[in-house]
């Protein structure tokens, strides 16, 4: 007896068994509870990994939420440490700037107006304390933001970016700059650099990296 013969005989028996099943229509309406559960099972087939990840994540979240909430509600120090921990863990592409020298700088002297392509129009300019922002808009609707920041001693700036962005180190007028490039052509890229006087600059816009570098070099 070969395996093929055995298989053929098994199929004969199987088909006979199936022919013996009742042929009349079984008129039964499944309960709403059953239909809900079946929907979940069908979802399990469509997204098996995500289904289990969601369940594990939900369980973990509940556990963390309950235990974490108890600690945070009683300790101010714990709250401060947790916030700092989150910033460090989840902002891997964050740019940390620390200005050790107290240099009085007139940050409001800086502007991209006149240096950027005529396609971009200045929409708004905000000067406030140690920061200046300029907002430009192109005819097509693309936006561009120019930021300038100075800092007093011991202050830190954390600029938070999407973790999926690619980081490149480039040069702007002899100063090291960080270029954050999006995965998608429909999202903005960012260039961040520190000027010779310690001032921090950043330009955010839907531009190629060469365009951002060229624009940055026009600032100082």
């Amino acid at each position: 007896m070969t395996d093929a013969q055995l298989k053929s005989a098994l199929i004969e028996v199987r088909d006979y068994m199936l022919d013996q099943l009742p042929t009349e229509e079984w008129n039964y309406e499944f309960s709403p509870k059953f239909q809900r559960k079946m929907k979940q099972i069908i979802e399990l087939e469509k997204h098996p990994i995500w289904y289990y990840v969601r369940r594990v994540a939900a369980a973990l979240l509940i556990t963390l939420g309950i235990s974490g909430g108890l600690v945070l509600s009683f300790s101010e120090e714990a709250r401060a440490n947790v916030i700092r921990w989150f910033m460090e863990r989840f902002t891997e592409n964050g740019y940390r700037y620390q200005n050790e020298m107290r240099i009085p700088v007139d940050i409001f002297q800086y502007s991209l107006e006149g240096k950027i392509s005529d396609n971009y129009q200045l929409i708004d300019r905000i000067e406030s304390g140690d920061t200046m922002h300029e907002l430009f808009a192109e005819e097509s609707g693309n936006m561009l933001i120019f930021n300038v920041m100075s800092s007093t001693l011991q202050e830190e700036y954390n600029l938070v970016f999407d973790k999926s962005m690619k980081v490149e180190t480039v040069n702007v007028n002899g100063n090291q700059a960080d270029l954050y490039l999006s995965e998608s052509a429909e999202e903005s890229n960012v260039i961040v650099w520190q000027g010779t006087n310690g001032v921090l600059f950043s330009i955010t816009g839907m531009m190629e990296k060469e365009q951002l570098i060229e624009l940055a070099e026009k600032i100082e």
Partner: protein, 177 residues
Amino acid sequence: MLFFLSIMEEAERTKMDKIFALYAKKMHQAAFAILQDNNDAEDAVQTAMLNTCKHIKKLQDPSDNNTKWYVIQAVKHTAINIYNNKERRYKKETVLDEDFSIEDFLERYHEGSNLSKEIAKLSSRDRNILMLKYVHGYGYSEIAGILGISREAAKKAGTRAKERLEKLMEKENQNND
């Protein structure tokens, strides 16, 4: 993060969708025949569908006899387990055997080859093991998981059943000679 659920064209429905549409009522009917209770029968169908989902990759075509046999056997196996668990809970002696749900092939199965008649005489468990191994292509570990037995038990039962059939066929061939 955004989650989008799209409405699928008929051709793109998942296998589980199709299996549910084709066999859910038949499965409920088979389970009801054993359990005589609609809620228990729904539980049996749900458990059987969940088990089917775990092995969905092996089921090629939802409309072929392989799949039909698989889901019907799955729900019968589950229904019998539910029935036996309930009976034990109420400390009753009656326990169903798998063969309870199978027609008496010896009486009715006059067609088919001699080998298929011998297969019909096997216990339901042995027949299911051979079916899963040689028709569906499952390994003994997978068969053990499906039937809720150990791998060793599945392999032993499958090997012995096959050897028994081989001996019977050999004897028959000798008698014919």
